[in-house]
């Protein structure tokens, strides 16, 4: 599962450009599922037929990144982005487009910045991607408007239990959902790999109508704020403290029975867990739980530091325990009690 995660994190799949990730997942899922198919938006479904409740697990395939808006006369590329702090991108390596043209995100050198410039954060509109083109015409030989750019960092082990990568949010969920597909549960089971979550839960909103689940379990990467200066109540989640079970976030209030069932699953299986303490932010659960006539939806997340950056970090043990918790929830048939 960890090797899969490494491969998944190293693939580029910015929102709207999830094709590489989808092909990778599809190629593995087809060996375990009865049917694997893709909808109009690009959501991928791996269905294992069964009796009983329709249960889905979902993970989003997309990652934060950039889209090329055009080139300036001097060959530097202008980009648009969403959900990325401009403080984390300067001097970072990216790859652009299908051909993965290498580039770096540039900014005015410190010598050239006015005192006012130095006091503020340079916004994305004052940053650019430099692919080494000599002018606009040269740049447009390599890239087109609308090409996607992704961070070029690779997955690595850090320390005893940590890993660093881009896109841990939410390739961890994808890797876990793929692993769950190998098992057989007493339900009609579908793993749904969604698109465009980072742009506002767009893929899941369509996907839910294609599977009409009774119960949904969303697997996510979420913010860890176990940082200096943050009091206990501001931590959101802590790395190494186990899978984070949500009772509420900015888009969903989890049905109490579902929240309690996940806690009970962890306690019975002896899996450490934490509760996600912030009620801000949202994920695919936000659109799933209120769709159709309503779907009971729970969320388990892996605590992730420096999320939405080229180098996010998470605990390998948390990741593995998140799989164990999802598996135990499904294997114990607790979806029948929510």
């Amino acid at each position: 599962m960890l090797r899969r995660l490494e491969e998944l994190c190293n693939l580029n799949g910015v929102s709207g450009d999830e094709g590489r990730v989808r092909r990778y997942i599809k190629n593995i899922a087809k060996d375990y599922a009865d049917e694997v198919w893709t909808d109009t938006m690009g959501n991928l479904y791996a269905h294992k037929r069964g009796e009983g409740k329709k249960v889905v697990v979902t993970a989003h395939m997309d990652e934060v990144g950039m889209i090329i808006w055009g080139a300036m006369d001097n060959g530097l590329l202008i980009y648009q982005t969403q959900g990325i702090d401009p403080r984390v991108v300067v001097s970072k390596r990216v790859v652009v487009g299908e051909k993965e043209i290498p580039g770096v995100i540039g900014a005015k050198a410190i010598h050239l910045q006015s005192m006012a410039d130095r006091q503020k954060v340079l916004p994305h509109s004052e940053l650019f991607i430099d692919i080494g083109a000599k002018d606009k015409a040269d740049a447009m030989k390599y890239v087109e408007r609308g090409d996607y750019a992704a961070f070029a960092t690779k997955w690595e082990r850090y320390g005893r239990d940590m890993m660093k990568a881009k896109a841990l949010d939410d390739r961890m969920g994808c890797a876990i959902a793929l692993e769950l597909l190998k098992n057989t549960y007493d339900c009609d089971f579908t793993a749904v790999f969604t698109v465009q979550e980072e742009l506002g839960l767009r893929g899941a909103e369509a996907a839910v109508y294609n599977v009409k689940p009774d119960v949904a379990l969303v697997l996510e990467g979420t913010t860890a704020n176990d940082m200096p200066g943050a009091d206990g109540h501001q931590h959101v989640t802590k790395v190494g403290a186990g899978p984070a079970i949500s009772f509420m976030d900015g888009a969903t209030i989890v049905k109490r029975e579902m929240f309690e069932a996940l806690k009970k699953t962890a306690e019975e299986a002896g899996i450490p867990y934490q509760l996600k303490q912030a009620v801000a932010g949202g994920n695919d659960a936000g659109v799933i739980h209120k769709a159709l006539s309503g779907c009971v939806t729970g969320v388990i997340s892996v605590a992730t530091r420096y999320i939405h950056s080229p180098c996010s970090m998470a605990s390998v043990t948390d990741f593995e325990n998140t799989y164990k918790l999802a598996d135990a929830f499904l294997a114990s048939g607790k979806f029948n009690e929510v």
Binding site: M248, A251, I253, V254, K290, S293, G294
Partner: protein, 337 residues
């Protein structure tokens, strides 16, 4: 005669967004004798169905959830940190008595280091905490868990023609629907939906409308007011009757619906005013966009001091709203495009 005990029981019931079971039980006890079947759906919406013969479906929707606080942390001294459920003003929720679903009580206060002793207006929701009298994390955790929700404790005040309490938004409308169901005569299938999770972003209504697929849905919610000293100018006034919705920030009502409601009001000699609210959204918007689109209207009760512990409405507007609902249900012809 106004059934004050019914209003009071519904208004005082515990039910922040996502934890509506208690208020559901209270409303269920009132509507059960008045309709043919009562049930809840997956999200917790309470649906009271009165059968008809016309083949048409008329839906009323009135959200029953209230704003509140949710516990996000318990510190080593036993203080609870909270986040808001819905549109909570930290200043209005500082230095209040609160109550949890299991009956545990507490008081709120704020970090005085941030705001000073006398100025909760500077506090953000993250600067608030709840003191339940516990002296350690263990003692607090024995009474309250992360994810538990509290609502503000408020007295139900009868002030002449007016009544004041927390959660008048939107329990006064829930009570108006119950009042209307008494002696309701309709040829249509009437579905009275008491919806969940409106205050956190209109999350319950769509699912109910998706299943019921009504020919017409009338939303019941409170609206703003323009009749207090130096307030934001607005036409709606307490005591001026049922407020027929023209628009709010989330929905524009088709003229065919609001003119129909106005005609019904005139015909039945029910006092009404027009409700044009620039701010705030209602369940109406989610219903309107469900499936292939649903014809919607709204009747509102003007409510002063919205989202405070002293929300104040007028019993005459309550009575007019119930009367207008009953009269609308009695119409053989529903509006249509």
């Amino acid at each position: 005669m106004t059934d004050m005990n019914m209003i009071k029981d519904i208004v005082k019931a515990y039910g922040p967004s996502g934890r509506e079971q208690k208020v559901t039980e209270v409303i269920r006890s009132f509507v059960e004798p008045l309709v043919d079947e009562v049930y809840t759906d997956t999200l917790g919406n309470l649906i009271a169905h009165k059968r008809g013969t016309s083949g048409k479906k008329l839906m009323f929707i009135s959200h029953m959830d209230q704003i509140g606080l949710i516990v996000t942390d318990i510190d080593e001294k036993g203080f609870l940190r909270v986040a808001n459920i819905g549109g909570v003003s930290p200043a209005m929720y500082a230095a209040r008595a609160v109550r949890f679903e299991n009956g545990v009580r507490g008081v709120t206060h704020f970090e005085t280091e941030t705001s000073g002793f006398m100025n909760p207006g500077k506090a953000a929701i993250g600067n608030l905490f709840v003191d339940i009298g516990a002296e350690s994390r263990e003692e607090a955790a024995a009474k309250v868990s992360l994810g538990d929700m509290a609502v503000v404790e408020a007295e139900f005040l009868e002030l002449g023609n007016r009544v004041s309490c927390a959660a008048m938004d939107n329990r006064i409308c829930c009570a108006a629907v119950v009042e209307a169901l008494k002696e309701m005569k309709s040829e249509h299938d009437v579905y009275a939906v008491f919806s969940v999770q409106e205050e956190v972003g209109i999350r319950g209504a769509g699912a109910a409308a998706y299943v019921i697929q009504p020919d017409l849905c009338i939303n019941l919610d409170v609206t703003l007011y323009g009749d207090t000293p130096k307030c934001v100018p607005m036409a709606m006034k307490l005591g001026e009757g049922a407020a027929i919705k023209i628009m709010d920030a989330s929905v524009i009502i088709p003229p065919v619906v609001y003119t129909w409601l106005e005609d019904v009001a005139v015909k039945n000699d029910i006092k009404y005013q027009r409700d044009v609210m620039r701010m705030g959204g209602t369940d109406t918007s989610a219903v309107q966009k469900t499936r292939g689109g649903i014809l919607v209207g709204g009747i509102s009760i003007p409510l002063r001091y919205m989202h405070s512990p002293v929300e104040t409405g007028d019993l005459r507007d309550f009575a007019a709203t119930a009367a207008l609902l009953r009269a609308a249900a009695a119409e053989a012809e529903l509006p249509h495009r």
